[in-house]
Symmetry: C2
């Protein structure tokens, strides 16, 4: 951020009066430009003993497999965002059965939320997917998953499925967790 989005003057990165951390502050009009984490919402669509994955047609991690998920938009609820992303990426509808993983990624200012659900009807690759397919546990392409959040969600699911109980799992992804996927920067 270089300029104030309200008045167009250059901003400073300083600690505003009464605050405890630096913000982008416009000295001309006084606007403080707060920056906050974004939510990535998606689903784990289940069909019998299979789960649905999407092969990414876009960067980052083009060609790797992911669950349908993406940035939540203004005006949406979290389940609505998860359902929309599933529709966009996998042309699929899911009967949502609750929030399943909430994974914090503080080093990239994201909170990842996956809702578990039952896949309803057909599916197909949306514009951001090269391919959409169903996988049994022994078919999951563990070495070709796009993100550590996806691997963690799938490992929770196959473990929880053995006792048919699917509680919410809250955890953090560290920069080290991400290195296996993206290499060190």
């Amino acid at each position: 951020m270089n300029y104030c989005s309200h008045c167009g003057q250059p901003v400073s990165f300083v600690i505003p009066p009464g605050d405890d951390r630096p913000r982008y502050l416009c000295q001309a009009c006084g606007t403080i430009h707060y920056q906050n984490p974004r939510i990535v919402a998606g689903t784990l669509p289940v069909s019998g003993d299979q789960v649905l994955l999407c092969k990414r047609a876009i960067a980052p991690r083009l060609g790797y497999w992911t669950l349908p998920a993406g940035f939540m938009e203004n005006g949406e609820s979290t389940p609505a965002a998860a359902a929309r992303e599933t529709r966009e990426e996998a042309c699929a509808e899911v009967d949502l059965q609750g929030l399943y993983t909430l994974i914090n990624l503080p080093h990239i200012n994201q909170v990842f939320m996956i809702f578990r659900g039952t896949l309803l009807g057909e599916f197909a690759a949306g514009p951001e997917s090269l391919e959409v397919a169903l996988f049994r546990e022994d078919e999951i392409p563990w070495d070709e998953l796009a993100f550590p959040t996806i691997e963690r969600t799938l490992r929770h699911f196959f473990s929880d499925r053995q006792r048919n109980a699917f509680p919410l799992h809250v955890s953090d992804i560290t920069p080290e967790d991400r290195e296996r996927y993206f290499g060190s920067a």
Copy 2:
């Protein structure tokens, strides 16, 4: 948003190529300025048969009672944000026991998350609180609560406490829910 925060030129509010909704787009440098919901994180601090509430020293809803909660910052996890807000508003530490309510407020682009926990040690009013106090169920100032999210979280808690089971509750707040607190705009 009137100006591009990257290059300082005026922005347009248009649907970018390949997108499906209007965004603030800079025609000069091509930057698309996405806007996304923000997370409000906080805690429900429990001490025996009492819960901790804070009387707000700031607008909105100055003088009304709330749970310690506030906007999650970049670089934090959701539990860390909840704990920080509790420290700031109630000078209190809480042993967190899981995410308890996740309430979507799509009409104001917020997602509210409360973690339930055990209050540890002392507490006091932080700079954003006029007063911090413990309340038994029959002492809760139901008509003086700050927000519908707070009322809903407390009602879930006192109901769940009867069977000592505290599952996550996911729900939405509608504009009508808020009218009782803020009046119609």
